[in-house]
Symmetry: C2
Subunit: 324 residues, 2 copies
């Protein structure tokens, strides 16, 4: 049982990362208006959020620019058009996917960029490329974190081996990522223990990125906080792929760090997030996502079910049961 002081007190080391544009962008092809992004930036400033993730550094050779909003590519010029010189305490992050980012070309020196943090996202079998990306970003002056995705399908021994390689790299933060929203808090406790031990050995920090397939994104995030995880991803109205993420409003309501303020989050939701839903953008907990989470599967089948406006949940469950 954790100590009551952990609920009443706070850790100054906590960092909150707003991933609304990045994970949320996966449900609207990153088509956020400049006005939306500017208001979100201002809300994050007022809420005391530590990092704002603008989206992906996607490779234009692979992705057609006309099919996505600017947060898919996160050009320095685009980000600067929103944040100017960003002389604030809110740092800027972008995600770079292994195999989908021309990082040597598209990530410029930090001295020329408004970006502060490069978030490298990798599957466990891609770790060597991830390390190359980490070294590239570090050499260009950035803070760097690394998300190992889909760990609920990985062997513990493989995860430890990956963390050992990452530990020897110059990365700053290891991220626990529950890509399928399939992990329960007890599992998060054990995984956090493994990540924190490896992080301590190598002088790194640990973060968590949760999905809400089983309505556990917030619960798993605060479980991780209690276990010593410091970097916490959240999104406004839990906007994110499929069932969405840990809700920023829940997380800032929970954290006692005096720098955080939940009220601007509520205002932004009222003024901007409700509109997205009215416009027909769909995300958040629903039975089909619960099913893929329960079965520890990628949510792509559930996303297709959603897009096809199917309602035959029981039939869908039988379909995905037989996919093993």
């Amino acid at each position: 049982m954790k100590e009551i002081s952990k609920l009443m007190d706070y850790r100054p080391d906590i960092k909150v990362i707003d991933a609304t544009l990045r994970d949320g962008g996966l449900v609207n092809e990153f088509r956020f208006s400049d006005e939306f992004v500017k208001h979100l930036y201002n809300a994050n400033l007022r809420a005391g959020v530590d990092y704002m993730e603008f989206g992906y550094k996607a490779d234009r050779e692979m992705f057609d620019e006309s099919k996505f909003g600017p947060c898919k590519f996160c050009d320095d010029e685009y980000i600067r058009s929103i944040v100017g010189e960003n002389n604030t305490d809110l740092k800027i992050a972008v995600m770079a996917d292994v195999g989908r980012c021309n990082y040597k070309q598209d990530i410029h020196d930090r001295s020329e960029s408004p970006v502060d943090l490069i978030r490298v996202a990798t599957y466990i079998h891609q770790i060597p490329t991830a390390v190359d990306m980490i070294e590239d970003a570090k050499s260009k002056g950035y803070e760097v974190s690394c998300n190992i995705m889909a760990i609920s399908n990985a062997q513990e021994g493989d995860i430890k081996a990956a963390l050992d390689i990452l530990g020897k790299s110059p990365v700053d933060v290891f991220y626990i990522v529950d890509s399928f929203g399939s992990l329960y808090p007890e599992q998060i406790a054990r995984i956090a223990d493994m990540y924190c031990n490896m992080a301590e050995k190598y002088g790194k920090k640990v973060g968590i990125h949760a999905h809400n397939n089983q309505q556990l994104a917030f619960a798993n995030t605060i479980e991780a906080v209690g276990d010593g995880v410091d970097w916490l991803d959240a999104t406004y109205s839990e906007m994110g792929r499929g069932a969405g993420n840990c809700a920023m409003e829940l997380l800032l309501g929970f954290l006692k760090n005096p720098k955080y303020n939940v009220y601007p989050v509520m205002q932004f939701i009222e003024n901007h997030m409700l509109k997205l839903r009215e416009d027909g953008i769909v995300w958040g907990y629903d039975l089909q996502y619960m099913m893929t989470g329960l079965l520890n599967q990628h949510p792509r089948t559930a996303i297709q079910f959603t897009n096809e406006k199917r309602k035959d949940y029981a039939e869908f469950y039988k379909e995905i049961l037989s996919q093993e």
Copy 2:
């Protein structure tokens, strides 16, 4: 950290209580069709649910029968019209509120009733009347549980005193009730510890009834399972007052007891729960309920906000902040 065996294995002592008609009835004045109730009964039978709560034993002197469906009153004849002699493993429960139930008159001998379990619901200052109701129900042959409501606003010393009185009564089960949806899993762990210690002393069982204001109803319920709580309330599609309850589909997906089967729950949701939402019945997590949960307040202001179809969340938050 809890043992992995608790996740992989199961406890035969676990009991699952379907509270859909009772807590869900609070959002539609208990206007469930006989067909709906019969299908729910059949779904519970197939899902292996242990108890099905039909609703309240409300006092007709206080509540106008024309304004509510039959699950508000739960006459033996009504329940029998659904379940017949109920020669099944699914037991029948009803709730009796202190101060709102004419129990001496309206609760008949178990030998004449299809009901198996009387669930006495009490605030902490009403414990002596609760004990009288418990003794009355026990003398009539029922299993009896007792829900102490709104404990997130009660002093620990008062809760212990109440449990000590209940321990000496013939009640079978103490229920942890997070009426306001304000408790975090760490707090549930401490409360479960207190309840389980008192239960062990007096030879009672412990249950939990959670609300989903902070998307923690399921997380708090599985936290409690890990802490030794055996009686678990859930509702289909988490239907219940305000933000709703722990979802039956999440709970049965989590529990490994071979007797439980989540598939009939999914079928019932598809065939019957979606229709309720289409008909305009509103429940479930929303920002106004998160706010009252965060502030540890009764959700009545949030329910009014919902009924008035207000969308000015930030203004509402300021209103309830100033109610202290």
